[in-house]
């Protein structure tokens, strides 16, 4: 072929057809700051109207791009301004009404998730923040497509332990209210340290206050493509392995950049960032765990896993960064247990434990993600898990998150199925010893010394 190399074309077709290369999400960020109103009915109407106007062509455009480039655009989603900033003057019941309006708007425009039922409380909580946090269990149990996130800590401000304690209760309560579906509300709820303002991935997407009126962010994926590339190098040194991952990440991210630019042009909305993440799905051959195992680990979770993940995460960033004009979001490897066939198998075999996952979050792009735990886990234990994860984020100046799923009535070793992209998860053990006295102290863990950079 004179212009395009034949093997390149076939390689791309193979990546899409058999290695699960896809654009994981085109996420439209929409500012709702101008929707605030003291009358809750007007506020809800403002929000509904703005979202359904701005995002009316989002799904259609995503589908058109998918057809023309032949690369699946799996999800079309929306992120909005943290709702606590929009509904500050309202009480918890009224917040639930806002959430219902968001859900209605999401259904109207046809997106499968809308993120931003959120509050940023890393230093302290306003009355509005607190009301939003308290409304989360009901809000998530009466809606289908709205995702909620709360930023509890930052390197600059430390860890808000009062909010951490409160979120332990909120998570358990959310699970309880959706008992019939295994506590599925918690799949739509994530807490952060150092949350980013332009993350296109759910459940943690929100449209930060420093963002423009409306913006297009794109999240790419492709663990299967990386795994396939590595299969040709079973005995190569890490120097070679890193190069292979970088080259592959570059190609994946270029597709993301192309799609982002095209979506931005067609929707007449500025391009924000490409999030160059390796996001697994429960499908066979679309697993981050498989990549780590191909590096030479018998099973993910064994000794060496953290080093393997660190290398993978770094190589993905290095390969992707040159492929895109603006890299942002979380960018790295995700390790959601229930969404990754290899992680599920390792957890069921007992090789992958909560403690190992925590260690892995020191070097991956996010945190403890989609981990089912027993239903009798106390609020304080959940809060303590969150506190540990926040500490990792705060001290290492990185984003960490906890999306943990207490399964009401569930016991260790049982399996819970959330369906679709959310997958199914074995219930994993947490330490039975109490951290109640630690959590009860409350207050704020001060910011670390290296936050004082000015």
């Amino acid at each position: 072929m004179s212009i395009i190399n034949t093997s390149d074309v076939l390689q791309t077709v193979q990546m899409i057809e058999s290695q699960h290369l896809d654009i994981r999400t085109i996420t439209m960020g929409i500012s709702l700051l101008d929707c605030a109103h003291p009358d809750i009915k007007v506020l809800c109407e403002n929000i509904y109207r703005k979202i359904t106007t701005y995002a009316k062509d989002l799904v259609k455009t995503g589908e058109a791009i998918e057809h023309e480039y032949g690369v699946p655009v799996v999800n079309k989603r929306i992120s909005v301004t943290p709702i606590a900033l929009v509904g500050g003057s309202h009480d918890s019941d009224e917040y639930v009404q806002i959430c219902l309006s968001l859900d209605r708007a999401a259904k109207e425009v046809g997106v499968n998730f809308l993120g931003g039922y959120s509050a940023l409380v890393h230093k302290g909580m306003t009355v509005g923040d607190r009301n939003l946090l308290l409304s989360i269990p009901e809000a998530l149990s009466v809606t289908e497509r709205v995702c909620s996130s709360v930023n509890l800590a930052s390197t600059k401000s430390g860890i808000n332990m009062d909010a951490v304690a409160l979120m332990g209760q909120v998570i358990n309560r959310s699970a309880e209210l959706t008992r019939s579906t295994g506590g599925s509300a918690c799949c739509k709820l994530v807490v952060f340290a150092n949350a980013v303002e332009d993350n296109p991935f759910m459940a943690g997407a929100f449209h930060g206050v420093g963002e423009a009126e409306c913006v297009i962010n794109v999240g790419v994926s492709g663990p299967g493509v990386v795994a396939h590339a590595l299969k040709s190098y079973p005995d190569a040194s890490f120097d070679t392995v890193a190069e292979v991952i970088k080259r592959t990440a570059f190609r994946i991210t270029r597709v993301g950049q192309l799609v982002a630019q095209e979506a931005s042009r067609r929707l007449n909305v500025p391009f924000g960032i490409v999030d160059l993440s390796l996001a697994p799905t429960p499908a066979q051959g679309d697993s981050v765990a498989e990549i780590l195992e191909l590096m030479g680990l018998e099973r993910v979770g064994t000794h060496g896993t953290t080093a393997a993940l660190a290398m993978l995460n770094d190589a993905v960033k290095k390969g992707g960064v040159m492929a895109s004009g603006h890299v942002g979001g979380l960018s790295g490897a995700f390790i959601p247990v229930s969404e990754d066939a290899g992680m599920i198998a390792a957890a069921e075999a007992g090789t992958l434990t909560m403690d190992k996952l925590e260690a892995m979050t020191c070097v991956c792009s996010v945190g403890l993600d989609m981990i089912a735990i027993p239903g009798d886990t106390t609020d304080e234990t959940i809060a303590a898990i969150i506190a540990d994860e926040c500490a990792i984020g705060v001290i290492n100046c990185k984003t960490t998150a906890v999306r943990i799923l207490p399964v009401p009535g569930g016991k260790v070793g049982e399996r819970v199925d959330y369906g679709g992209l959310l997958g199914s998860a074995p219930i994993m053990a947490v330490h039975p010893e109490s951290a109640s006295a630690f959590i009860r102290r409350g207050g704020r863990i001060p910011a670390p010394i290296h936050s004082l950079k000015n």
């Binding site: 072929m1 004179s2 212009i3 395009i4 190399n5 034949t6 390149d8 074309v9 076939l10 791309t12 077709v13 058109a64 057809h67 023309e68 480039y69 032949g70 690369v71 190609r251 270029r254 597709v255 950049q257 192309l258 040159m322």
Partner: protein, 89 residues
């Protein structure tokens, strides 16, 4: 406006003729073709210009898919930019 058409199918008489007739009927200009036979299968890659095509991209794509299912060929059309993006720095 350029696109790449990839075809893989069991080798049989008339497949190429059917595909090129369809493209001609749609005013799609074939710029370059590369084809190899692997055992019983043939794999073909075609660079085409569809700027004078009277149909929208999606319609053209559907016509190709329809032809593919009639003749047991897997036909895929993608805009050329995606290959440019992935393999050119």
């Amino acid at each position: 406006m350029k696109a790449i058409i990839t075809v893989n199918a069991r080798d049989n008489i008339g497949s190429m003729a059917a595909l090129s007739s369809l493209l001609a009927a749609c005013n799609v200009n074939i710029l370059d073709i590369s084809q190899t036979i692997m055992g019983e299968y043939f794999v073909m890659i075609m660079l085409v210009d569809y700027s004078r095509c009277q149909f929208a991209f999606d319609e053209l794509r559907n016509k190709l898919t329809e032809l593919g299912s009639q003749r047991q060929m897997n036909i895929r059309i993608q805009r050329e930019d995606i290959f440019e993006a992935m393999y050119r720095v």
